[in-house]
C-alpha cells in the first residue's frame, strides 16, 4: 500500500460499513483526501477535530472519518459549528458543505459566519447541482445549463461562492479544484492554520447528473474541463479581462488580518467582570 493511502486509512472509521455513498469518479473523495492530508500535516489530533456537515452528497463525508463528527440539518452546519467553537475554543472546527447546502438554504448562515469572523474553516464543494436528490439546479448552476428542474434551460445567474465570501468579509478565501489536487492540499492547510473564518471553495464535478444532462462527458472529461478553465491567481494577474472571460481563478484569493471573534469576546468578558466587581 502506498504511503499516501496508508495515511488516509489512519483517519478512516473502519467500523463503519463501507462502501461509501458516492458515485465512482466523484470529486468528493479527492477533497476528502486533501482534507485528511492537510489535517495530518498541521499536526491536529483526532480528538481536537470536530468535522461538521449539512445535508447532501458532501454532507455524508464526516461519517467515514475518525474525528468528532456532526451531520446536521440542511444548510445549518455553520450555525452548529459556531456553537461548538464558542463553547470550546480549543476544538478545531471544520465545516464541509455542498453548494446548495452552503449558499442556497445555508446562504444566510454563510454570509454571517464570514462577517462574524469566528475561527472556523468552511470547505465548500461546488459541483453546480443538487446531486443527492437527482440533479436539480442550485445557486451555482451556470446560466443556460440544463438540470432536472431546468430541463428547457436555466435562466438564473449563478453565485460566485468565493466572491460572495470575500464581499461578506471572510479574512481567508481560497479556491481550488479536484483536478489540481496539490493546490487543494496547500489551500486546506493554509485555511486550517488561519486564525479566523477561512473559506476554501472546491470546484468539482457531478458527471452523474450535471455532466450527463449537459453532455459534458464523464469524470475524466469534466476534470479536463477544470484543468482548461482554471487560471492561477498569479497567472490571472498577467492576463487581460478579455483573456479571463469564461475562466475562473484558483489559489489564495484573500488573506488578511481581521479581529477574531473569540479574542474580541474575551475583551467583553473582562469588561463584564470588572463591571460586576464595582
Amino acid at each position: 500500500m502506498p504511503e499516501i493511502t496508508k495515511l488516509i486509512h489512519k483517519y478512516l472509521r473502519h467500523d463503519k460499513k463501507f462502501p461509501h455513498v458516492w458515485c465512482p469518479g466523484c470529486g468528493i473523495g479527492i477533497m476528502l483526501g486533501a482534507l485528511i492530508r492537510a489535517i495530518d500535516r498541521c499536526g491536529f489530533t483526532k480528538d481536537e477535530i470536530v468535522l461538521v456537515s449539512g445535508i447532501g452528497c458532501t454532507g455524508r463525508l464526516p461519517v467515514y472519518v475518525d474525528f468528532n463528527t456532526l451531520h446536521t440539518t440542511h444548510g445549518r452546519a455553520l450555525a452548529f459549528a459556531t456553537g461548538i467553537k464558542l463553547a470550546n475554543p480549543k476544538l478545531k472546527v471544520i465545516v464541509v458543505m455542498g453548494d446548495g447546502d452552503a449558499v442556497a438554504i445555508g446562504g444566510n448562515h454563510f454570509i454571517h459566519a464570514a462577517r462574524r469572523n469566528i475561527d472556523l474553516t468552511a470547505i465548500i464543494l461546488n459541483n453546480s447541482i443538487y446531486g443527492m436528490t437527482g440533479g436539480q439546479y442550485s445557486p451555482t448552476t451556470p446560466y443556460g445549463m440544463k438540470t432536472t428542474t431546468s430541463s428547457y434551460i436555466h435562466i438564473e445567474q449563478a453565485f460566485n461562492i468565493s466572491e460572495l465570501a470575500v464581499t461578506a468579509g471572510a479574512p481567508f478565501v481560497g479556491r481550488g479544484t479536484v483536478y489540481h489536487a496539490k493546490l487543494l492540499d496547500s489551500l486546506m492547510e493554509k485555511a486550517f492554520l488561519k486564525k479566523g473564518f477561512a473559506v476554501v471553495e472546491v470546484i468539482s464535478h457531478c458527471h452523474t447528473q450535471f455532466g450527463k444532462l449537459n453532455k459534458m462527458g464523464g469524470a475524466v472529461e469534466m476534470m479536463q474541463w477544470q484543468k482548461d478553465h482554471a487560471v492561477t491567481v498569479e497567472k490571472a494577474a498577467t492576463m487581460s479581462e478579455e483573456e479571463l472571460k469564461g475562466k475562473f481563478k484558483i489559489g489564495v484569493l484573500v488573506d488578511k488580518e481581521l479581529p477574531v471573534y473569540l479574542d474580541e469576546y474575551e475583551k467583553i468578558r473582562q469588561m463584564a467582570m470588572s463591571k460586576k466587581e464595582k
Binding site: R13, D15, K16, K17, K46, D47, E48, V50, V52, P62, V63, D66, F67, N68, T69, L70, H71, T72, T73, R76, A79, F80, A81, T82, G83, I84, K85, L86, A87, N88, K90, L91, N108, H109, H112, Y265, I268, R269, M271, A272, M273, K275, K276
Partner: protein
C-alpha cells in the same frame, strides 16, 4: 407583619423573563444564542450582560434557525445552553428542535407566547403555542414542556428545565405567556437554599468501549462531550446504537421506542403542579400560566360565596399530567378549562375523561387575559 426569616436572603423585584435568566444561570447555563423578538427579548438582553460576567458566552445569531443550531452545537461541546423566542421564532426553531430530540442533545428553549398565527399579536398574551410545543417539529417524538404562572416559578422551573434536559438528554421547552414574562413580582432567594443541579451522565468506560446510543435501564445513554476523547458520530438521520445512519427496521424501531420510553418510564418525575382545594370540590378549574392566577382568585371568591370550587394548576404541560387530571375528573362533577386559545389543553382533558364528568371551556383569543370575573361567571352559568 411577617417575621423576617433567619437565614440570609436576598429579595428581588424581577420580571418573569429576568427570573428565567437567573434560574438558567443558577442551573449552570453558560451559553445563549438568540434573535430579538417580543416578548422574549429581555431574556437575550439580560443574558448578554450576565453571561460574560460568569465566563459564559452570548451570541446574537442571524435568525432563530441558527440560534437553535448554535445552542445544540454548544451543548455537544459540553456547555449547558439555551435560547428564548416567541411564536414566530419558535416556528423557525422547530427544524433543529427535532435534531436535538433525534441526536439526544440537552438544551432549553423558552417560548414567550404571544397571539398567532403568523406575526399575530407581538405585544399581547396568548397560550396558543401549547400544541406547537408538543407537535411542532415533524416526526414521532417525545417532548417536555413546563409552564410557569408566577415569577418565582419562572426561576424554579427554569432550573428544573435544565436538570430534566440533562437527565433525559432531551430538549425542554418553557412555555411562558406574555403576561408572566413581563410581569414583575418580588422573589426571595435564600443563600442557603438547596438547589438540586443535575449534570449529564458521562461515559466512564474507555473510549473504545463507548457506544453512544446504547440502551440503558433508564433509557438514557451516557453522553460524551466533543473533545473528551470519545470520538463518535452525531446525525439527524435515524441511527444505530453507534450513531451511524441506518435503514434497518430492526434498528429503527427500538431506537424510536427508546426515545419515547426514556420519558414515559419517568413520568412521575415530570409532574409539576398544584391542587388547590380540589378534594371536596364539585367544580374544578384546570388552568396554567397566567390564567391559573385568575383561576385561583375565582376559586377563592367562589368558596366565599359557598360554592365548592377548586383548581388544578398545571406546571407541566408535556407530557400531559394525566394522573393529576384523572384525579380531579374522578372527584369533581364539573371541570372548567379556561385557556387563551381555542382549546388546546381542554382537548387533552376530554381525551382522558373516562367518566361522566362534564367539561366546559373558556376560550379567549382576543389578546387579553381571562379575568377571575369571567371564570366566576362561567362557574355560575354551568354550576
Amino acid at each position: 407583619m411577617k417575621k423576617k426569616p433567619k437565614t440570609p436572603y436576598k429579595e428581588f423585584l424581577l420580571q418573569g423573563n429576568e427570573a428565567i435568566v437567573e434560574g438558567a444561570l443558577r442551573a449552570g447555563c453558560r451559553f445563549f444564542a438568540g434573535y430579538p423578538i417580543t416578548p422574549a427579548t429581555e431574556i437575550a438582553e439580560a443574558m448578554s450582560v450576565k453571561l460574560p460576567q460568569v465566563g459564559g458566552t452570548y451570541i446574537q445569531m442571524e435568525d432563530e434557525i441558527a440560534s437553535m443550531a448554535a445552542v445544540i452545537g454548544a451543548s455537544l461541546a459540553g456547555v449547558k445552553s439555551m435560547t428564548a423566542t416567541s411564536g414566530p421564532g419558535f416556528s423557525l426553531m422547530q427544524e433543529n428542535l427535532g435534531f436535538a430530540i433525534m441526536a439526544e442533545v440537552p438544551c432549553v428553549i423558552v417560548d414567550a407566547m404571544r397571539g398567532g398565527p403568523s406575526t399575530g399579536l407581538p405585544t399581547s398574551p396568548s397560550q396558543s403555542d401549547v400544541m406547537q410545543a408538543r407537535w411542532g417539529t415533524h416526526g414521532d417524538h417525545p417532548i417536555i414542556a413546563l409552564c410557569p404562572s408566577t415569577v418565582r416559578e419562572c426561576y424554579d422551573l427554569t432550573i428544573k428545565a435544565f436538570n430534566l434536559s440533562e437527565k433525559f438528554r432531551n430538549p425542554v421547552i418553557i412555555l411562558v405567556d406574555e403576561v408572566v414574562a413581563h410581569m414583575r413580582e418580588k422573589i426571595t432567594i435564600f443563600e442557603d437554599e438547596e438547589v438540586e443541579i443535575f449534570n449529564r451522565i458521562k461515559p466512564n468506560m474507555p473510549p473504545e468501549w463507548y457506544i453512544p446510543y446504547v440502551d440503558t435501564p433508564s433509557g438514557v445513554p451516557p453522553m460524551a462531550n466533543f473533545g473528551e476523547g470519545y470520538r463518535y458520530h452525531v446525525t439527524g438521520l435515524t441511527h444505530d446504537i453507534r450513531g451511524f445512519p441506518t435503514s434497518r427496521p430492526d434498528e429503527i424501531d427500538p431506537f424510536i421506542r427508546r426515545l419515547f420510553r426514556k420519558i414515559s418510564q419517568h413520568f412521575s418525575e415530570l409532574q409539576f403542579g398544584e391542587f388547590y382545594e380540589t378534594d371536596d370540590a364539585d367544580i374544578t378549574i384546570i388552568a396554567y400560566g397566567c390564567v391559573a392566577r385568575s383561576a385561583k382568585r375565582a376559586a377563592i371568591d367562589a368558596r366565599q360565596k359557598g360554592l365548592k370550587v377548586g383548581m388544578l394548576k398545571l406546571n407541566t404541560l408535556w407530557p400531559f399530567m394525566r394522573t393529576a387530571v384523572e384525579k380531579v375528573l374522578n372527584t369533581s362533577k364539573i371541570v372548567i378549562v379556561p385557556e387563551m386559545n381555542m382549546g388546546q389543553i381542554s382537548r387533552e382533558v376530554k381525551r382522558v375523561n373516562k367518566g361522566s364528568t362534564k367539561i366546559f371551556t373558556i376560550n379567549k383569543v382576543d389578546g387579553t387575559i381571562i379575568t377571575p370575573q369571567e371564570i366566576l361567571a362561567r362557574i355560575k352559568e354551568v354550576g
